[in-house]
Subunit: 255 residues, 2 copies
């Protein structure tokens, strides 16, 4: 019998995971999902594939995975089963049976991430795993001007980890913006683009915060892009502020 | 030299504490604060007193404590020192040097608590320690009518734990209300009163939710109050939805 391909959307609290990708003797998102699936399907191991590999501590509200299941289960039933068998820090939000041509990673046309910054002088015990604490005066106008330099198609070599194995470091960022949450006063940064290099958003954030609090001139962002040299950019900030919000499969939906 | 009395406001994530009150071999809020104070003052053990004892899993954004410190430290210095020496899940928000007549517990005239209910059908991994998940249809009008019965001065025997050691179970509730958060769609219940019996809000919530989702008629709340019998009320719901928001020392400020 033909296997059935499932596409699922999930949220997870990345705090207690050593990232998405399976690793020996580590608790990972992929590992926990494959464990839950193997409880369901006694016959065989089922490999899952994610749209993107999030690092240790990085969260998700819209990660997409796909896998081939040996027999038919209604979409709702798959959702319920995985929510029942999976751990508490992973929640499956949507389940769809898709064509065998669907691939969560290769067909992804773009992604949207949030990075949360807590700018209060004191820490907040409730966001200690979910926001980066930056208790220095930051300027909204400067921050917005700096972000604007990032929008468009650029070679992001300067903002990629030296460990990035991608040859072509050209990516298009459709949106690099910030909004201050009215209630929590958190600074929520949004990055929407056709792809992001390893650590790219965390290095961008480390650099943007240096501009935001006045340690660097706004124009540095332009110069850093042109330098194509990782050492010209700022530090890689904490993983915990980062959350994968959405994966886009429709070319035109997110531009 | 005279000791200096400090009044401090603090927030804590109750998840990893066995409640506020010190207990042998348990990690408690009081225990951790006294440990931090003893790091500061090598000479002597310093006992702290809290406005209210929160149970295991209960959170706080406005708990008040007081203690006598053997020597003068500026208010700001005390705040910085305790934030530096205390654990990550406790944050000290305000520090005041007060008169020796001040007492965090005995002088408290009232308190305000929130109880958070997540009414979505699916759980949210990010609020799993902070909101009670109640994935059943609940009706706002019914809930508000039920809450209205609780406002005023009543004997709350029916809504007190059988372990409550208070003789007089009459309390005044100035506000029992609910608001739906626009962004998260969480139901945030507010209880403001001159005092709350042991488990009182959690038993009220267990009963209110039975009214809210139609398992009980609205008028039951009135009947349960009149019965003065714990067995007539609903179950004690989870601690994790509860958060101590504010302690009032000014008689007129909160009515």
């Amino acid at each position: 019998m033909d296997k059935i391909r499932y596409k699922m959307k999930l949220a997870y609290d990345g705090t207690n995971f050593s990232g998405f990708q399976v690793q020996p003797n580590k608790r990972t998102v992929q590992g926990e999902i494959e464990k839950a699936l193997s409880k369901m399907s006694k016959e065989e191991f089922i490999r899952i594939k994610g749209a993107g590999r999030t690092d240790a501590g990085v969260h998700a509200r819209g990660q997409i995975i796909h896998f081939d299941y040996p027999r038919y289960i209604p979409e709702d039933g798959m959702l319920r089963a995985l929510n029942a068998l999976g751990p508490e820090d992973i929640v499956f939000l949507e389940s769809d049976i898709v064509d065998h041509t669907f691939h969560s990673q290769y067909l992804a046309k773009g992604k949207m991430y949030h990075y949360r910054v807590d700018n209060h002088s004191l820490k907040d015990p409730f966001t200690r795993f979910y926001a980066h604490h930056h208790p220095f005066d930051i300027d909204l106008k400067r921050t917005q001007k700096a972000l604007a330099f990032l929008e468009g198609t650029h070679d992001f070599t300067s903002f990629a980890s030296a460990h990035s194995d991608k040859e072509d470091k050209t990516r298009t960022i459709y949106e690099a913006s910030v909004a201050i949450d009215e209630k929590t006063e958190e600074w929520i940064f949004t990055f929407r683009g056709n792809g992001f290099l390893y650590n790219m958003i965390r290095i961008i954030m480390g650099t943007i915060l240096q501009v935001a609090d006045g340690r660097r001139p706004v124009e540095d962002i332009k110069k850093i892009l042109e330098a194509k040299d990782r050492t010209t950019a700022g530090p890689t900030v904490e993983a915990k502020g980062l959350c994968m919000m959405e994966v886009y499969y429709d070319e035109d939906a997110f531009k």
